[in-house]
Symmetry: C2
Subunit: 768 residues, 2 copies
């Protein structure tokens, strides 16, 4: 009888496993994702575990902060924006927050590291991992999947595995036999340009398995606090803190030995350790929940999202979630590499913005007060100078609900802003003001024009956009409003600012038009023409103009530094009139001349002296003088469409796709920038691109897959088919939509969202 | 018709004013309060405005922090525990939080200072106030009343007035004519032993009248944040910030001029200023609300408590509140000085603990989470080593409801404590562990034994007391529990700790007895005898014992430093067995010998070399070798009652009352210690004293007033009458209660609370 029961159980188990495997098999998109892509050189992606748009990014860090000198500039920090560099041979530990692809550093909160043997509380040297708690590792013993990361820590032969839920990092460490095993919690560790960014940390050991606390930092985000709750799968036998700060008189705290088994610590520079005895191959698990609000919130997140001690279940749930999200586009392609490129790009676009609220809907606002998100999920990490271009437009197609909620998060930011401004570059209840323009308005306009934001909400978002665009003290804006351009002698990067304000203003005009707000339309459509004020027809480039109305004499179109531009030279940036290419081309001498100009851009050689100050990219991130690794040129290849040379758009796009995106750790030529580079890849691979977000048109390029099926949130399906597709057949012979010829170089948003079939007939010959 | 209306209105107004004045006149207790008492030398009281138990203590500071050297020890800090020293001739400004009478420094948040002329953002030198924003003042032009403080700032001829509600400081500055008037908000200023206690400050200028922000400090309270909301009665014309910190790279914040009219600032060292044009005698008012929770909470407190711009109304409301509280005891006395002493002492006992929660009941807990106070008012600032002796017992008579709520605040602290300990010395959601013992248990026992805490709540409070008293790692407690005493070689101040633990344990036994918890009673009544273990019969003093069971050889009964005691020498501290004087007297050689020993204490001379290390008191704070300015001897004068010499209790008490409490700024010989010194005065002046809180008995002394009517919360009235009272008639001939002779040296709590009349017949001859 007993045996029979066991038999049945086994049978059911096998059946369950089989069903599960086949279910996974039928839609296994995660197999095509390689989170290591972009972790070498300039990609600044992280290889660790996270769920789509998750608050926790649990990932290995291969460099450490701080370097023990308060406030010291860390020249390597840029390399370690995501904490991990593929070329490194040691891991310091696993921290819980990471940006994906940024060109500036922050985060890296709460580093966890397991060790065995004599306790070492210093990280030790990179070239001598045994000198501290860091460990050697090798890529042979490393696995990175969506929501799963595994590595063998070679120094102590500890297998480290991690997975996550939205708000909880779930660690699993397989120890060797030892009476002297430890798990270190490093509250000093962080990622930032300067050491000593900690403002305060606070820890409580609630019982022999539970720790709570917070970390407050002054980094890229000026006033930022992250709260945590941590739980071990088994009780520690003892624990301790080390406070590295040279502390003044601590009064009656002297009555305690605060270093050992004392349950409370606070200060700027603290590391904690927890001791265990472990049997051979014993697994110790750690749940580590984050909250933007409080330790109470973190504890509630932990209990809500990870009620059990089932690592596999958490991993599986997160991977299923990834499969669901990645499955929104089902592609077929020629090579495994193409699939990996595609799904890894899709993966990278679904990493940020990240959810920024507790399971109960509470979050910290820009005003540092706690707010309740009513009716939406609050997001943070808005790298808008990058992501307004393609990422948010991409979301309007494949993540429209989330994009709406991101805009709600942006207008909540506006409501909480003392400046009454929409976000510029915001993260963790902070505005860091990074880069230029006010591109929130583009994201809002794109959603409104495409019908993804309507009614009162759209009206309010327009009001916020207008108010933002009238903030006089913002970055030369008063001059721009008065004079029609930003004068270079009053404000640096003046040309870039003028061009981007003009585009942003056009997007405000577009939403005003859609919302029938004529006064706003009139004001901003006028402002949108300001780009003309910085065009110097005598040289055919945009050029810095002084407050006396004259162009600055000093000028070098190849130089990036101090030429009135930022992250781009005049060759690249002068083409930044996405909202009116026709007029720009006319002013630049007409279509033919313009096409030749573009040809030159793509083929000329940028001497090394000029490359040196091109930021954020590798040499491979440049094609001729076209800089794909930075964003201002992302629309440029599509401009041939306006110059009667669509075949050149087609060949350039395919060239960029091939050169700039490779399925290898060093496959990204520049920072992925919170998914913008990947979104460019995805649009272009699908065969179209939003040259001017805020318009409902996508400019057609050359699709790089065989078929792609977009499963839309509205229940419809849009199939893209590239007939006769191959590496050589990069030219589009003809295009049809639902069987009817499409005799234009664009497709509209409504056409995509209505579903159906878009067919590209490919050829190896340009259709001139 | 119109004229008639105005006439009527005027008539009503006059009638109203008349009624109001006469109402005030009939019970004008505040006229007897002089908040300047104790502001000179060691009293450490503050002269500024506050309401009873108010969260805001808005008071002038005459010294400044920081002294511009990070972490530097400030040797003068002790003098400035309350921010103000009467001998000083300049005022730096007015800050919003002050302890009353502490022997340790903290607080001093948010200094406001009005100035005229060229902006000076540095405080300047004490001896040259014109060198900075500080100003000369003189006591001739200074008025201090309950909830009202006024001073002429002589440098710029600005009249400064202030009043408060519980959570709002209300400033009124009368300016001269000037186009260049300023109000400075100094976020660097603070009160503490070390400079640079700021961890972070954050400010937002919400509009041209409203500012919010917070200040986070690492001072006596290790992790403390106070939030504020500030509103001006008229818009400022411009404003600015100065950040004194040497800041690292601030990224894209560079795009702003953050010094002038930029609405946001954050950092460690910030001062702000607000500019006005003022007409001659123009008043600018400032409302400044505090919150323990958030700027949102502060703003709500501001709106709730001060909806209008009516300074006089706020002042009047607060003074009415004071009259109501002070009116709980109506006394008659021979001299105006006696009345001032009495009502100023009563005033000082009603200053702390202070309300620590928002108007909506939210407060920050010890766990740094936000809690909702359900069914009670949450209090903070528990100076328990001082206040368990007389202040909380005094509250059990005159403020029983508040005392219950204070205990609820203490048990909430316990619930939030990671140590599961009741408060030792706590303020602002922090435990600072100051001094020794765990005297919360005495406060709780006193309330339970006296019937002021009952039911489930009492049982829970007992559990918390027991748990607290079993915290092994607390201050030698494990040794005490194992060995029956704290060994001096293991833990300093071992005798004081042993004696106080023993007393505290006795109080736990008393509440256990009352609550019928026999097991707890048995455990703790046994522990309460541990005082015997440190009594050295061979010398007649308590004496430090080593872990080998032998008394330490090195011993000096006059020395305070390093003799096994704290804030007291062996002469004083050896008498600390408040819960069993009979047995102590027996062990010390019997009643006669003991009385002679006490006589010697009061009459011997303490050489200067020993006085030097007696903390916290002036030379006048000592009578012979009896140290009244520190607390451990507060029960000592009453011990004659146990030695068959009650007349000596009577004469000593009257002597102490006369010598140690004078109606002058230097009238307090030692720190008022959050009201403990004043509570001693009040009890003793009324003729009885709680020698052992946790007992329901008060030991009789010699009343120093003619009559006192206690208006009890239960609606009853207790009248104390001293017949034949005079300065010379300090001896009590006989006592009667409700007309019946009281032939014992104590009165019970129930007898007081039942109301009636306690009559002392006074005489100039001791009844021996």
């Amino acid at each position: 009888m007993k045996k029979l029961s066991i038999g049945f159980v086994l049978l059911f188990l096998l059946l369950f496993l089989h069903l599960n495997l086949s279910a996974q098999k039928s839609e296994n998109y995660i197999q095509h994702v390689n989170p290591l892509i972009g972790t070498q050189k300039m990609g600044h992606t992280y290889p660790g575990a996270t769920v789509p748009f998750g608050s926790v990014q649990l990932s290995p860090d291969t460099d450490q902060q701080p370097h023990n000198i308060a406030g010291k500039y860390n020249k390597d920090a840029y390399k370690y924006c995501a904490g991990y560099q593929y070329d490194d041979r040691t891991i310091v530990g696993f921290s819980h927050t990471h940006f994906s692809g940024t060109g500036h550093s922050d985060l890296g909160d709460f580093l966890i590291m397991p060790t065995v043997g004599d306790l070492q509380l210093e990280p030790g040297a990179k070239d001598n991992p045994k000198s501290g708690f860091r460990s050697a590792f090798s890529h042979q013993n490393e696995t990175a999947e969506p929501n799963y990361y595994k590595v063998l820590l070679e120094d102590d032969k500890i297998l480290a595995e991690m997975t996550t839920t939205t708000r909880v990092g779930f660690h699993q460490y397989t120890f060797p036999q030892s009476d002297n095993s430890h798990i270190i919690l490093d509250l000093m560790h962080g990622i930032y340009n300067y050491d000593d960014k900690n403002v305060w940390t606070f820890v409580r050991v609630e019982n022999d398995r539970t720790i709570v606390g917070y970390r407050q930092t002054n980094g890229w985000a000026r006033t930022r606090t992250v709260y945590f709750a941590m739980e071990f799968s088994k009780p520690f036998t003892s624990y301790g803190f080390k406070n590295y700060e040279n502390q003044a008189y601590r009064g009656f705290w002297r009555k305690f030995d605060q270093t050992k088994n004392f349950p409370e610590a606070a200060g700027k520079q603290i590391r904690a350790y927890f001791d265990f005895a472990t049997a051979k191959d014993e697994k110790i698990q750690v749940k580590f929940a984050l909250s933007p609000v409080s330790t109470e919130g973190a504890m509630n997140n932990l209990k809500t999202e990870t009620p059990d001690w089932d690592f596999e279940k958490v991993k599986r749930a997160g991977q299923n979630e990834w499969n669901k999200e990645l499955g929104k586009i089902a592609v077929t392609a020629d090579t495994k590499g193409d699939l990996i490129n595609f799904y890894t790009a899709l993966y990278h676009t679904f990493l940020s913005p990240t959810v920024y609220m507790d399971a109960d809907g509470k979050y910290k606002g820009l005003d540092q007060n706690v707010h309740q998100a009513n009716g939406f999920t609050n997001y943070t990490t808005f790298s808008l100078w990058d992501t307004y271009r393609a990422l948010h437009p991409f979301f309007n197609i494949v993540q429209p609900r989330r994009n709406r909620e991101m805009i709600r998060s942006m207008t909540a930011h506006y409501d909480q802003s003392v400046h009454k401004m929409l976000p510029v570059w915001s993260h963790y209840a902070n505005e860091n003001w990074c880069m230029i323009g006010y591109h929130s308005v583009s994201v809002i306009a794109d959603a409104i024009v495409k019908g993804n934001l309507t009614g009162v909400e759209a009206q309010k978002a327009l009001d916020a956009s207008v108010q933002t665009a009238r903030t006089k003290y913002y970055d030369g804006l008063e001059y721009y409003m008065k004079m029609g351009y930003v004068p270079e002698d009053k404000n640096s990067s003046s040309v870039s600012k003028t061009l981007e304000y003009a585009y942003d203003d056009w997007t405000i005009a577009q939403m005003a038009k859609k919302l029938k707000r004529t006064d706003v339309y009139d004001e901003f459509i006028k402002r949108s023409e300001n780009w003309k004020n910085v065009y110097d027809a005598s040289i055919g480039f945009m050029r810095p103009k002084m407050s006396d109305g004259k162009f600055r004499v000093k000028f070098d179109a190849l130089q990036t530094h101090d030429q009135g531009f930022i992250e781009g030279n005049a060759w690249n940036y002068s083409l930044y009139v996405p909202h009116n290419p026709d007029e720009m081309i006319r002013m630049m001498g007409g279509k033919q001349k313009f096409a030749a100009h573009l040809d030159e851009l793509f083929t000329m050689h940028l001497p090394d002296e000029f490359f040196a100050d091109t930021e954020d990219i590798t040499r491979e991130g440049i094609i001729g003088n076209y800089v794909h690794g930075n964003e201002p040129s992302h629309h440029v290849a599509y401009l041939y469409n306006w110059a009667d040379a669509p075949h050149k758009t087609q060949e350039k796009v395919r060239m960029i796709l091939k050169n700039q995106y490779r399925p290898t750790p060093d496959g990204l030529g520049g920072n992925d920038d919170c998914g913008q580079m990947s979104a460019w890849f995805l649009f272009s691979t699908l065969g179209f691109y939003p040259v001017a977000p805020g318009s409902d048109q996508y400019s057609l390029g050359s699709p790089a897959i065989k078929t792609a099926v977009l499963k839309l949130e509205n229940g419809k399906t849009m199939t893209i088919e590239a007939t006769n597709q191959s590496d050589k057949n990069v030219y589009v012979e003809r295009v049809s939509l639902n069987g009817k010829p499409l005799n234009r170089h664009y497709i509209t948003h409504a056409e995509i969202m209505n579903g159906g079939k878009l067919t590209f007939m490919m050829s190896d010959k340009p259709k001139v």
